[in-house]
Subunit: 272 residues, 2 copies
């Protein structure tokens, strides 16, 4: 049985889900997206993701033909039709079929669903990061621009790293698909404040008012003093960072606070 | 009669020239391209463009299935089939149909042709630029990333500008689709040396050894003293810049040296 996608409101089998090469996503890398998880056929934190989707679209001057109720109806229809209970759904809005290959036209809205099963066991393995001086352009918008991240993949592999941590001349930013946190020796939970994509999972963590969590202007040297570090995202929840540029973080094992936040996030997703 | 494109070696009518939405160009803005002009059904400076195309592909870890002879054969076939004597041909190489939406797969090669007639009359009208602090990522590669340029289009329109001139904290770089030159009051012809895409037209201009033309580290304040300014590209040849950020360049009219270079470029294209 085929998995279905939705292109501009119409269901289409995944293997036929195509757009013209004149689309500005293909011609000029112009588009935005969002991604949320489906557990037991229910979308997780949908309104948070739709808020961000509409914000990204408006920021990039891309009109969305569907209002929120229509978009939710399409998403519900796709979930029913595909019946992939553990999955991710991606909404992509492109620059559309431009006449001159440069000026945006009516955007194309692509809704795709792929199986996704969360691997809780990955928590104990943790992650190894390398740092790289790079500032994402238009950082607070979830654009389709991952040119730098994908370009760096062979280098990550060669250096035995799982992911890259961007900094701008020493000021810590984010990973390509996740936000970054450190836990100080004093137990403060800190995450870069600006020039980043503000993740939905990051937002949940910042809302734990019973924990000493806050935004801060973190620098590369703050990594040396960190007791713990972790990244947050919809697909990773909170994953411990055990090594950065070959040096262990803290004692090199998943820390207590990271474990606490991970547990809270799993519980929140089950109970939403 | 339909215009044809070529997708992975196969001719396809333009209105059916599609790729799956799983392509990394659509998912992650990952791809490279090149563009050259066809005059009287002959491609202009084809080897220069193919050199750059293969260089961009290799830099971005994207293998090209076709060798140069095969690629030329496809291009010749497309020119014959379309018979659009004045046109542009674009070679686009994408990240391909990635299994996980992140790791590049076998690239898709898209060859498209569109009518293009050079407007020599635009020379006298000239161009108005605005400056903007932005450094293109992976600048020496012709990637499909024009996110910043397209994002800025409404701002250009609002400010009555034709194009944007990027600088990095004052260091002049380039326009999104063209290189930038100034002519000093002493008659020197200078163009930014680094962190730019090195255009084929720029290369032709730098090869005029009888003219005092050279690469230099130009700054924003060098614009105040310029006698002339112009941009160079395959579609513009050399076009005078008459105004930058609302201030006239030199006497605000197309200058002698810009005119001389424009004339040489037109002649070179006719005689190649």
């Amino acid at each position: 049985m085929s998995t279905y996608a939705i292109i501009n409101g119409a269901f289409v089998a995944e293997e036929a889900a195509k757009i013209l090469v004149s689309d500005l996503a293909v011609q000029r890398g112009y588009g935005i997206f969002d991604y949320f998880r489906i557990t037991a056929n229910r979308p997780g934190f949908l309104d948070d993701h739709l808020d961000r989707f509409y914000h990204s679209a408006a920021f990039m001057h891309l009109p969305v033909a569907e209002d929120r109720a229509q978009l939710k109806q399409l998403i519900t229809g796709l979930i029913e039709k595909n019946n992939l209970p553990d999955a991710g759904i991606r909404l992509t809005l492109t620059g559309g079929y431009s006449d001159n290959g440069y000026t945006p036209a009516q955007p194309n809205l692509l809704i795709t669903q792929s199986p996704f099963i969360f691997d809780a066991g990955a928590f104990h393995k943790g992650l190894r990061l390398i740092t790289h001086d790079y500032q994402r352009q238009l950082p607070e918008v979830k654009t389709i621009d991952y040119l730098q991240a994908i370009y760096l993949q062979p280098q990550l592999k060669a250096r035995g790293a799982d992911d890259v941590l961007y900094h701008q001349q020493g000021a810590l930013r984010e990973c390509p698909r996740a936000n970054f946190f450190i836990v100080t020796k004093q137990g403060e939970i800190l995450t870069p404040a600006s020039n980043i994509l503000k993740g939905i999972t990051r937002k949940k963590i910042l809302a734990y008012t019973d924990l000493p969590v806050r935004e801060a202007d973190l620098q590369l040297q703050d990594l040396d003093d960190a007791a713990e570090a972790f990244i947050s995202s919809t697909t990773k929840e909170a994953m411990p960072v055990l090594q950065i540029d070959g040096k262990p973080v803290g004692d090199g094992r998943p820390g207590k606070i990271t474990t606490e936040i991970f547990t809270r996030l799993l519980t929140a997703r089950r109970h939403q």
